[in-house]
């Protein structure tokens, strides 16, 4: 859509003082994500503090597709919540497009949640238009924009359906459309295809890449599937240990556009196996804290969750 206009306001938002999300000139942003020394704790029901993320730092340049990988419970969703301004950090800071993140910035960063979390009483188009509605965009404009994004994700025919009438994959497309409708600089995706079958998962991944190619926003995509992580990413961020920290970041330089054929190439396997080895080392270090269901990567390098 219109990410190219963004270059316009990049200079303004690069100033640390540009933390004023009210004016319209902030619609297009630089999508650089800078995370420094992030430590995150949860307090459980017995008022005990648990550190989930410890001293996490990484940098994702604007327009990059980054994937975050790590075992179940390592704090991937938590990391996205921090980036989305939904949870306070114990220490460290997150700066996105020059803005210090202390609260949600729905015009700058949007989240596609682990389950599609569509509102079941709203039709597809009204679900997608919800962020615009909340921001006070008038009805005509928001429906027009929602319609456009829905066509982009291939759902132009289903705009008046209710979520119950959609398949899992279609629901996720709606959720992605809802994430894109405000034209965010950064799109956070929390295992958006985890509920889909193997085949659909990779096909959706391929489609997502095409979409991203047009939008050029920064994407931070959480997954626990190694192949998916490598196939999609410019950069893979690996969360390891408990509490988790960034074990390594791996740059993935396969040329774009990519198609699913890449996944059977030897180079692809080299990168994936390298990641797998590192994750396995981590598992041995934390001695059984995590349970991989396989000793060696399966045909798809799936790191299965214990309960799936």
């Amino acid at each position: 859509m219109t990410q190219s206009i963004n270059k316009f306001s990049m200079k303004a938002s690069a100033e640390p003082n540009a933390i004023n999300p009210t004016s319209a000139d902030l619609t297009g942003h630089d999508g650089t994500v800078d995370v420094r020394g992030l430590t995150v704790c949860y307090t459980d029901s017995r008022k005990q503090k648990h550190t989930v993320l410890q001293d996490v730092s990484f940098n994702v340049p604007s327009g990059t597709f980054a994937t975050v990988i790590g075992p179940s419970g390592s704090g991937k969703s938590t990391l996205l919540k921090i980036l989305g301004g939904l949870h306070p950090a114990e220490a460290g800071e997150t700066v996105i497009g020059g803005r210090l993140i202390t609260e949600p910035n729905p015009d700058l960063v949007t989240i596609v949640f682990q389950d599609s979390s569509l509102l079941p009483w709203r039709t597809v188009i009204r679900n997608v238009a919800l962020p615009l509605e909340t921001a006070g965009v008038n009805r005509l404009e928001r429906e027009e924009r929602a319609q456009k994004v829905l066509e982009l994700v291939g759902l132009g025919d289903c705009i008046h359906k209710y979520p119950r009438e959609l398949s899992g994959g279609m629901k996720q497309r709606v959720a992605i459309a809802r994430g894109l409708v405000v034209e965010p600089s950064v799109l956070l995706m929390d295992e958006p295809f985890a509920a889909l079958d193997e085949q659909s998962r990779y096909e959706m991944g391929e489609e997502l890449l095409k979409l991203w190619d047009r939008l050029k926003s920064t994407v931070i995509f959480v997954t626990h599937n190694l192949s998916e992580a490598v196939f999609l990413a410019d950069k893979v961020i690996v969360l390891e240990g408990r509490p988790a920290t960034v074990g390594q970041t791996v740059d993935v330089n396969f040329s774009r556009p990519r198609d699913l054929g890449l996944m059977v190439s030897p180079e692809f396997h080299v990168v994936r196996d390298q990641l797998y080895t590192s994750l396995k080392r981590d598992r041995i270090r934390s001695s059984g804290t995590y349970s991989w269901s396989q000793e060696s990567p399966g045909p798809n390098g799936e790191l299965l969750k214990g309960d799936r």
């Binding site: 939904l86 729905p106 949640f113 979390s117 009483w121 919800l130 209710y162």
Partner: protein
């Protein structure tokens, strides 16, 4: 609504309506048979014809119409109070209970006990305390309905999902936006279902109060006809009240159906 299937397609609705009509016709047929074959005496169950004509009299004569008007007036007052106050308190309880589960449990247990206690036995005490006028009947009539409303609204509020709350937060929804765009639509259906049950309870409550502490209203009419052995009047009045309840119940079901289109 449908007793057979959860599907919302037109045929199943038609079947349900047909089924309901068949049940009513069968009961009337049985009634007709029992009275014409003299299986029961006219004192026990009057013939269909004379009962229906009493029901018609109730709906046309001015003194009985007055009774009907009194009842409807009390019903509406009791129902509105039970609804507004019940939903308000219930939502507050449900939201508060998200942070104080213990308080919510205790309050709900108390309300459950109150609901299980036959309030009928307190009616004489109520009359002694506050008298036997219009408002006493209303208060007595709404007592069960309001408890049901509080409990259901609280449950509905409590079940507004964590995901939806996080979603709302991520869009920086204001409290008012959250209330209208997420909370109300999410809680609406269970609350409307509860309204229907509450209405049935309010009708019984008002009728009971009228029978024992009043000199007007359909409950009073039924009571009087009963004590004076005016069996056709008795059954006729019961028919009128039952018809009122059925009509209101169906109206609620239609509303539920049309609002719940999005339901799986």
């Amino acid at each position: 609504m449908s007793r057979y299937t959860h599907s919302t397609t037109a045929p199943s609705r038609t079947y349900t309506v047909v089924f309901q009509i068949v049940v009513v016709l069968a009961l009337v047929g049985l009634w007709y048979l029992l009275t014409t074959t003299k299986a029961v005496t006219a004192d026990q169950l009057p013939p269909v014809g004379s009962t229906l004509s009493s029901a018609k009299d109730i709906l046309t004569q001015s003194n009985t119409l007055h009774d009907l008007a009194v009842s409807i007036y009390e019903l509406i007052s009791a129902f509105i109070i039970a609804t507004v106050v019940g939903i308000g308190l219930g939502f507050l309880l449900g939201e508060y209970g998200r942070h104080r589960a213990g308080v919510k449990r205790v309050v709900e247990a108390g309300l459950g006990t109150a609901l299980a206690t036959p309030k009928f036995i307190f009616l004489p005490v109520l009359v002694l305390l506050i008298g036997a006028g219009y408002w006493e009947k209303v208060i007595y009539g709404l007592s069960d309905g309001i408890i049901i409303m509080i409990l259901s609204a609280s449950a509905a509020a409590y079940t507004v999902g964590e995901n939806e709350r996080i979603l709302a937060k991520s869009y920086k929804m204001s409290k008012i936006q959250f209330f209208w765009k997420v909370f109300v639509p999410s809680a609406l259906l269970p609350v409307i279902e509860a309204l229907r049950i509450s209405m049935v309870l309010v009708i019984s409550g008002v009728m009971l109060a009228e029978m024992y502490i009043s000199n007007a209203g359909m409950g009073f009419l039924i009571f009087q006809a009963g004590t004076q052995d005016e069996v056709p009047w008795l059954i006729g009045a019961i028919l009128v009240v039952a018809a009122l309840a059925i009509v209101l119940n169906s109206a609620f079901q239609i509303v539920e159906k049309s609002i719940g289109r999005w339901r799986p």
